[in-house]
Symmetry: C2
Subunit: 136 residues, 2 copies
């Protein structure tokens, strides 16, 4: 397995954890340091694993079901760092309805031992047809 | 000068080129490869230096003056890669008026020789008071 393939596998585990709303999956995917960073679409930047984990917990608690389709994936490995660009189509169901959003993501990983761990997730809304469409 | 300081200096050169709308400054700051990436707020992802350079040229041609204040800067160096988180407050003047926007940026650099070059710029709108304020 090449390093690129390992990074893409780590990226896929992140989206599996997201779609399954699996907090323990998130625990396994992220590096637990106070300098890791996460920007959810429309939020302020979160710095540090503690705050990032708390944000996923709150998102999962407030969502009934989540469907994530990932496309337009590129990967670049540079030594012990690697980053993935991809487009997420996220459909979320809530108590009150559902929403679909197109999101451009930058996911940055670092190598620790033989594994690649997520250290930076920057997600921002894309200007595509059905973004922010909400049906109630 | 530590590697962190060198990366922060490279980050500052990027914003000086942006504020001066200096395309040659952009040439000097970016790595010229077909895998470098740039996401302007509200755009689709641009892949490859040729398209990225063209986008800066178009932005500079369509802007009369640009003022950029950079704050909330963090930096992380990991071998020959490094990334900066920062907030940009961008005020742009056009023929028809001006706009102010708050933007969260991820800037990713790689080390080539003794220099750090920009390979990834992800900028997305922040939900702050005067974003998208336009006076005409």
């Amino acid at each position: 397995m090449s390093e690129e393939e390992k990074v893409l596998a780590a990226n896929q585990r992140f989206y599996l954890a997201l779609e399954a709303m699996d907090l323990e999956g998130m625990d396994a995917v992220w590096l637990h340091e106070d300098w890791v960073a996460c920007l959810h679409p429309g939020w302020e930047l979160l710095l540090g694993w503690e705050f990032i984990r708390d944000s996923w917990q709150r998102i999962f608690e407030n969502t009934r079901r989540m469907k994530v389709a990932v496309s337009e994936i590129t990967v670049r490995v540079e030594g012990s760092s690697a980053w993935v660009n991809c487009v997420e189509q996220v459909t979320s169901s809530f108590e009150t309805g559902f929403s679909t959003a197109w999101v451009q993501a930058t996911n940055l990983f670092v190598k620790r031992g033989e594994g690649w761990l997520l250290v930076h997730h920057h997600a921002s809304p894309l200007p595509r047809g059905d973004e922010d469409e909400t049906v109630q």
